[in-house]
Amino acid sequence: MLLLLPQALVDGILIGGVFITIAIGFSLAFGVMHIIDLAVGEWIMLGAFLGFYLTQWTNIEPLLFLPVVFAAFGIIGYFLQPVIFRVISGIKGDPVLMGLVFTFGLALIFKGTGLTIFGFYSHSIPSVFSAGSISIEIGNFYLTIPIMRFVGLAYAIIITIMLQYLLKKSNFGLAVRALAQNREASGLMGINPKKTSSYVYAIYVGISAMTGVLIGSIFSLSAQMGARYTALSFFVVVLAGMGYLAGVPWAAFLLGLIQSFFLIYFNPGYTLIAVFSILYVVLLISPKGLFGRGW
């Protein structure tokens, strides 16, 4: 079974790629605004449906719509942010917790709206990429790389690099990092915290919605899918260290590899118990995420 090792590795990394896309925006939003957004899965759901309908109406490759979805949801995020800002900047109550419950409320609203408009059934977004795979077969050695998944991984890496670049190299990134460090001081330095936060939230919502299109292409989409991805995204972000963007890919790969190894080498039934137990133990050992770099 050693021949399957490359396959297990590749599959783990590909699953990890999907996890990155789910979690990266969430991590950004937390890192900058310290908001735990329990509606992240619902943004993914809504984005997926926008992609689904656009594809149905136009019959064009769904991944071409990614910028459209990003823009549409970015605008929504931009205008929603002040409301959330107000909730998490109140003097009373624990701001993180308030944000968490508020976005839980938002999640219920989105889910209810989604069920009303889209119904209960599952759908799928057809992409040309879902058709192919790169296959290597030498004797007993098999390695299959699904192109769709590979596209997902590429998307994940591109988004991660773009975000890192934006944060580390641009003026906007400087403002964002200043904001993440200290809201009051950044205000003194001529940064408009409200505007910057709005942009960050817009980027986060936009990325999450785009991810929805990808998820709908790789897996399926339904109005009920949100909660699952919220949980996943939360797990990845916490494992990476809350708000530590550079940790997200590694956390995602770790969770992906646990899954692929259990599915291939051990009893597949124990996959999830392994994922949850390992997540728990890792947090005990490294209380601020894998690299100890989280908030």
């Binding site: 219920l108 209810g112 909660a227 494992l239 209380p287």
Partner: protein, 321 residues
């Protein structure tokens, strides 16, 4: 806070207790009793969550695990070892408490979201375990003997939840334990300088939070007579307890109780009479939660309380001047 047990408080508790005792005589309807029993159950889950979540400041996303452990202990003892129901209850509570004690030491070192997620993943691991083991019946769950006596379950739940409430009231609002726990919430290292051992106090609070959940889980198993991993280890137990507590007001006991009653009453009435609009329920609930957090960040009771405090301090000011 800062109050001892006042005569009026005791009287009020006694009044509520007697009123609840008489409830089955007024509402002879089994459905009403079932609803009342479930409302009590949620009060119990919300206040027990608040011990660790509100008083100790560790938001626990895995509270349902204790509920599930209690439910499965009762079910397994009854079905696999032929126990009678009542003797299983102490064990259900003990089991939940024991788990809290064991995991408490390593887990409670974690802060904020890390603690929340560690507990969540642990609860999900328990759910998976229940799905995989034979003794729990795996995904098929377990069916218990049916004992459909609404009064029995109402009174049992009432005694359990009222007992929990009074005990927690004493510990948190009257005895010194409440102070210690709050100081941990506010600043652990500062508390250490004052001679408090944070680890010990956190574990005590954690066990105190887990035991009632386990007991309620045990009652739930026999009451509903069927349990399976999603229904007792599912996220819904924890989610609802948290939302109820925050709606009502964290770090208090009356708050979560109010939150539990409001949310549960809303839910029940909605489902019972408006179930054609099931999807609307999610939207309305979402709006209610969002608006409450937006306008009443301290929850319903927290807001009433600070209003009362405000008035009291105003009165004091006028006395001084």
């Amino acid at each position: 806070m800062g109050t001892y047990i006042k005569g009026s408080t005791i009287k009020l508790f006694a009044l509520i207790f007697v009123a609840l005792l008489l409830l089955p005589l007024i509402f002879r309807n089994p459905f009403s009793l079932r609803i009342a029993t479930e409302a009590l159950m949620w009060i119990g889950l919300a206040i027990s969550w608040d011990v660790i979540g509100g008083y100790t400041g560790r938001v626990n996303f895995g509270h349902g695990a204790f509920f599930g452990i209690g439910a499965y202990i009762t079910a397994i003892l009854m079905m696999n070892w032929g126990w009678a129901f009542l003797p299983t209850l102490p064990l259900a509570g003990f089991g939940a408490g024991l788990v809290a004690f064991i995991i408490g030491f390593p887990t409670l070192r974690l802060m904020g979201a890390y603690f929340a997620i560690a507990m969540w993943s642990l609860a999900l691991a328990f759910q998976q375990l229940a799905l995989l083991m034979n003794i729990t019946g795996g995904p098929d769950g377990m069916r218990l003997p049916t004992f459909l006596n609404p009064e029995f379950f109402f009174y049992l739940m009432l005694v359990m939840v009222m007992g929990t409430f009074v005990l927690l009231w004493y510990l948190m609002e009257c005895a010194s334990f409440g102070f210690k726990v709050r100081s941990i919430r506010e600043d652990e290292s500062g508390a250490m300088a004052l001679g408090l051992n944070p680890t010990r106090i956190k574990i005590q609070a954690f066990v105190l939070s887990a035991v009632p959940a386990g007991l309620i889980g045990g009652i739930y198993a026999y009451w509903v007579s069927y349990i399976d991993p999603p229904s007792v280890f599912g996220d819904i137990i924890t989610d609802q307890a948290i939302v109820m507590t925050i709606l009502g007001g964290m770090g208090t006991l009356i708050g979560p109780a109010i939150g539990a009653v409001i949310l549960f009453a809303f839910k029940t009435v909605f489902w019972a009479y408006l179930s054609d609009y099931q999807v609307l329920y999610l939207i309305i609930l979402g709006v209610v939660i969002a608006l409450t957090v937006f306008f009443l960040p301290n929850g319903v009771w927290g807001t009433i309380n600070s209003y009362l405090d405000h008035r009291k301090s105003k009165k004091n000011d006028s006395l001084i001047s």
